[in-house]
């Protein structure tokens, strides 16, 4: 099996008395889109900055593309691409010029025209960066990370502060990177972003990974199935054959690890009573539910 692109064991980092990252293990394989999901202040940016070589660590083993980022040199930096959480381009340079400037930093850059296509900015190539919308600026930023043709791409909260259509466009660009065979390490605090983009998700809370796996399977094994419906008129929750909780919109929800039996009991009862169960839905918990469960305290 190929060497993992990122391998972290027991990573620790404190700022004064605050432990930002507390013994973190993670592995990212080549070609994977890996999402690092967590609320603000959970240690995402600290971790990604250690992996990018910006920050020292207090303890732990870190290997990125076979090297320790804290000691890696120019050859290693030619193999990674970084999109920071916030970066404003020089407004005086056009999109094309900005890409050409960065292309010149790398030993084997990807042709600028190709990068323009990849990030959907071919039509704005001669627009000054200062005149781009927020979403276009971000795509230029992704383009700069791609222009060196890196093997590994770090994207730190790539869509924070975007309107829905700009997010959608950014997702398309990031989704397109998969086709290039790039490994992508993405941090985000949006569940839907992790679900839409990632092959694998790790959820970090207060400096520790609390769950890890493909987004569809994450937490599924133990998590209960949810049965939702509107309470029929004239029925009190206590009359139902299964235990339910009320939700905000007048519906009730039952959580069960034995959904077949629960559904059977519920529908048999409804037939006997001659009532409908409006809006009946049976579903596995979404990543959002898992996330809220794990991050609530």
């Amino acid at each position: 099996m190929a060497q993992p692109v990122i391998r972290v064991r027991g990573l620790r980092k404190s700022y004064g008395a605050v432990e930002a990252v507390r013994g973190l293990d993670l592995t990212v394989e080549a070609g994977e889109v890996f999402a690092f999901l967590g609320p603000n202040g959970a240690g995402k940016t600290t971790t990604v900055e250690v992996l990018e070589g910006y920050r020292d660590r207090d303890a732990g083993e870190v290997e990125v593309l076979g090297a320790d980022p804290a000691r890696a040199g120019r050859d290693w930096r030619a193999r990674i691409g970084v999109v920071l959480q916030e970066c404003r381009m020089r407004p005086e340079l056009s999109v094309r010029e900005t890409l050409e400037l960065y292309a010149g930093y790398y030993p084997r850059p990807r042709p600028v025209a190709e990068v323009l296509e990849l990030v959907g900015l071919a039509g704005s190539a001669d627009v000054r960066a200062g005149r781009l919308s927020g979403g276009q600026q971000r795509r230029l930023d992704v383009g700069l990370a791609l222009v060196g043709d890196p093997e590994l791409l770090f994207l730190d909260e790539p869509t924070t502060g975007f309107d829905p259509s700009a997010r959608r466009q950014a997702w398309e660009v990031i989704g397109g990177l998969r086709g290039l065979g790039k490994t992508v390490f993405l941090t985000t605090h949006y569940m839907d972003e992790a679900q839409a983009l990632a092959d694998r998700v790790a959820i970090i809370v207060r400096g520790e990974i609390v769950a890890q796996g493909p987004p569809d399977e994450l937490g599924r094994a133990e998590a209960p199935t949810e049965i939702r419906f509107q309470l029929p008129g004239g029925v009190a929750p206590g009359e139902l054959p299964i235990a339910v909780d009320a939700t905000a919109n007048g519906a009730v929800v039952a959580r069960t690890t034995e959904p077949v039996a629960a559904l059977h009991a519920l529908t048999a009862w409804a037939l006997r009573r001659g009532v409908q169960l409006p809006g009946l839905r049976v579903g596995a918990p979404s990543l959002e539910d898992v996330y809220l469960e794990l991050t609530s305290e």
Binding site: Y54, D75, R77, V82, L84, C87, R88, R90, E92, Y105
Partner: protein, 257 residues
Amino acid sequence: MSAAALALHQFRYDQKVFWRNPASVFFTVGFPVMFLVIFNLVFGSGDRISGLGVDVSTYYVPAIISLAVASATFQNIAMTVTIDREAGLLKRARSTPLPGWAFMAGRIGNSIVVSLLMLVLLAALGALAYGVDVPWSRAPAVLATLALGAATFCALGLALTAVIPSDGAAAPITNLAIFPLYFLSGVFIPESEIPDGVLHVANVFPVRNFFESFFIAWDPRTVGAGFDWGDLAIVAAWGIAGVLVALRTFRWTPRGR
């Protein structure tokens, strides 16, 4: 790409950014030209400055060139590097294979080229409009003094960025650091009008030493090659101090967030 080619690559784009930015062109190129014209207008270009023995225009051509060099280097670098730092551009550049020094070389090269251009522009304006002789025989001293001053003020500009907390504070702090020195050092007001005590204080700071050495290289009454070694040594000492402070305190990551 070779190291020198990388620095040249960075320099070409720094030049584009400089010439396309209306504020940098106005303050760095327009301001000194305006000062030279206004001072000659207000004080009468052919009038003698009593106590100095030179006429107004012969005094102000080297004075305003000194100002233009400090502006193209110290002010330009302190402001643009701080703005780039706060925008996240310096941090971003650190994630690429571009060596830090190549980034700096591009920016410093830009400042030195603009300084040389201002030398040509202001010397030509002085010669054509006010008949101030260009000191061709002392060209080596003029160029060497300018190069040393430019290098020193670049280093001091980089050193200053460490105390500038945000992009909004870049212009006020930089101007506050240098504008009083222009007044106290005889760049704006002829030194014969400035009390001795003030000049002694100004002598501690490199604006005064640089102007003094540049004036001597330019002054038609100067005999010899025109190197003012004493003042040049002080300018160089400030430059070395600037480099040492910059090496210790310079940061690539934004401070304002």
